[in-house]
């Protein structure tokens, strides 16, 4: 446990899903990650988080590839998968955290940043609750397919 978690050390493919599971669709990213963990795909490690935090920089730096999964509240109506590059910024541990900042941390602190993707799922309900809306549920299923496909390539 010396800063190198047994769980994530050198994961082939790291999935980080984050969000508040008590705010309906906001938790879709976390639920996707939980589902990926249940699948038990070889070489795939899934982390379920409430928010992005600097502690994730080390397992990210050790992974061969990483995908972040989050709810999207912008105008997009489909699940989007965008490749990411590290970028400096101050948005971390925030409601609208930017995973590119975390990638920059990984590179700066631990010397390495793997190929990374941001998988965003369109949502419509951010009220109190634990259920996904039909829109988020469709995105959830699509996200799982995309992660399986991407993980199969790494």
């Amino acid at each position: 446990m010396s800063g190198n978690s047994r769980q994530t050390a050198g994961a082939d493919f790291l999935v980080i899903g984050y969000g508040n599971t008590l705010r309906s669709d906001d938790g879709v990213g976390a639920k996707v990650a939980a589902a990926v963990a249940e699948l038990g795909l070889p070489g795939v490690v899934a982390l379920v988080r409430h928010q992005l935090a600097p502690e994730l920089a080390e397992p990210i730096s050790e992974a061969h590839a990483v995908v972040f999964v989050d709810a999207a509240v912008d105008a997009a109506t489909e699940v989007q998968m965008r490749q990411l590059e590290p970028a400096d910024g101050a948005q971390l541990m925030a409601h609208a955290a930017d995973p590119r900042t975390l990638l920059a941390f990984a590179k700066q602190l631990f010397g390495r940043c793997p190929p990374a993707w941001w998988l965003t799922i369109p949502v419509e309900n951010l009220g109190f609750g634990e259920e996904l809306s039909p829109l988020a549920r469709r995105g959830y299923e699509t996200a799982l397919e995309k992660i399986r496909a991407l993980a199969g390539c790494h």
Binding site: M1, S2, G3, S5, R6, L22, H50, Q51, P54, E55, A57, E58, D88, G89, A90, Q91, L92, M93, A94, H95, A96, T101, F105, Q108, L109, F110
Partner: protein, 478 residues
């Protein structure tokens, strides 16, 4: 403008208590600070909407008060529920709850120092706000940032291994805990201790060097007389999970000792002000507001006679410094926080070495027999009270919660006034002034800070408004 006219600076929002707060600063006619208020503008309502719930639900409900300190509420709530049950928990369960607590102390204090306060200390209070945060720290001091990240991670790993998950573990329950520790989990935690100790000692050295280099500034930063309250062991040693209440005056003299926590209403009362949703606890026999007291790391070390673990005790001796019976400057919260990390790590080692730590005898079952239950712990930020009144079926009739940020409300207001008087001058508003006012609040590590949207920055909008409504000056950030 007449000679008797005054002007008001409003900083709104300052930050949140799981919500928001603001500061108002009143200037006199010549531009000096006359008075300040620290307003908490968010209403939570937990004490009210828990009425009618079954008492055993309270740990899981109250854990949601906060995302940084759910463990503290879980433990205090579980203890209150234990009191309702009227059955003492088994020793292995108590050891495991305390282990969880040590993980919480470690991660919370590491977050406060490295992520929230170190940017001011290492980059400067007047540094560009764009870099005066953990991002800037990582860019300019990556070696220190790594230590902070790993130390906090170690605390979170203790919580995960002990409680099952890092955030909102459902582990402490009325009557004990619901998960035993495996030998593999215990051994994994043992492996991380040497590095964690090294990181904690590094941070202590860093802060001591800062204190030496900025001695006068440190000694006078939000420095004032106050009483202190906290839990202690029967021999007066520092205590975080059990113990009784001790009160000392501004000179460190013990004025009330070994008060059973369940009797807290005999010694503490709460006042309200129309300009804040946060209550103002005070010591009864001193009245309001003279009965102001501080809690948390500064208070705990001021009133503890010793620390039961050797390295932390040595650090406490150095902190107490012989010449000063108490440390008055709010800046010393930072130093005290780091000593408590050292204690938490030593105590973690003791707990992991205890032969009962992997026992599966972790739960008692009983029917609720008492009409009230009080659970008190020393959370990272200070003394936390959960008090439940229940009916014959175990349903909650009334709840009283006093959280650490509340105890420190009068003191935080006093700190803001002290810092504002020292740094706010004339009609020119400078960003560094705002940051110093913020830093005074940050000494207390209130739950306000954990709700900011950007790490290390509290959104601030300050307007200097003339009596006729004309905006004379304006500054915004975040």
């Amino acid at each position: 403008m007449t000679e008797t006219s005054t002007r008001t600076i409003t900083i709104n929002p300052v930050t949140r208590i799981e919500g928001h707060a603001k500061i108002t600063i009143q200037l006199d006619a010549v531009g000096n600070v006359a008075d300040t208020q620290f307003h908490v503008v968010e209403f939570r309502g937990f004490e009210k909407f828990c009425e009618g719930r079954f008492f055993a639900e309270m740990p899981q409900i109250t854990a949601r008060i906060c995302g940084i300190c759910p463990v503290s509420h879980l433990l205090a709530s579980a203890k209150a529920c234990d009191a309702v049950l009227g059955a003492p928990i088994l020793r292995p369960a108590k050891l495991l709850r305390e282990l969880l607590h040590m993980g919480q102390l470690t991660q919370s204090h590491a977050l406060s120092f490295f992520h929230l306060s170190a940017p001011d200390l290492l980059l400067g209070y007047d540094a560009d706000p764009a870099i005066r945060n953990v991002v800037g720290l990582i860019q300019q001091h990556p070696d220190i940032a790594v230590k902070g990240v790993r130390l906090r991670k170690y605390g979170q790993e203790i919580i995960k291994f002990t409680g099952g998950r890092k955030i909102h573990p459902d582990f402490p329950i009325p009557g004990g805990v619901n998960k035993a520790l495996t030998v593999a989990e215990r051994d994994e935690m043992r492996k991380g201790l040497p590095e964690a100790f090294a990181q904690a000692k590094f941070a202590l050295d860093l802060l001591k060097k800062y204190q030496e280099a900025h001695h006068d500034e440190v000694e006078t930063f939000a420095s004032f007389d106050s009483n202190y309250m906290g839990l202690v062991q029967p021999d007066g040693a520092l205590e975080h999970y059990d113990g009784n209440l001790r009160f000392t005056d501004q000179n460190g003299k013990i004025v009330e000792d070994q008060v059973p926590p369940a009797n807290y209403l005999e010694v503490i009362a709460e006042a309200t002000e129309p300009w804040s949703y946060l209550k103002f606890p005070f010591i009864k026999w001193l009245g309001y507001p003279a009965g102001m007291y501080r809690v948390g790391p500064l208070a705990r070390l001021n009133l503890a006679s010793k620390i039961s673990t050797p390295q932390a005790n040595a650090a406490l001796r150095e902190w107490k410094d012989g010449r000063n019976p108490v440390r008055r400057s709010s800046f010393y919260y930072h130093w005290a926080r780091l000593i408590e990390i050292l204690y938490a790590l030593e105590r973690t080692q003791q707990l992991l070495d205890d032969p009962d730590i992997c026992s599966t005898d972790i739960m008692v079952t009983a029917r609720p027999v008492n009409e009230q239950g009080v659970g008190v712990i020393e959370a990272p930020r200070g003394t936390l009270f959960h008090h439940y009144w229940v009916d014959g079926n175990g349903r909650i009739e009334k709840v009283n919660l006093i959280v650490a940020t509340g105890h420190n409300n009068l003191a935080m207001n006093r700190s803001v006034l002290s810092v504002a008087k020292k740094y706010v001058k004339g009609n020119q508003l400078q960003e560094g002034m705002l940051n110093r006012v913020e830093a005074a609040i940050r000494c207390y590590d209130p739950c306000l800070s954990c709700s900011t949207h950007a790490v290390g920055q509290m959104p601030l909008h300050v307007q200097l408004v003339a009596p006729d409504g004309q905006v004379l000056d304006e500054l915004a950030r975040g």
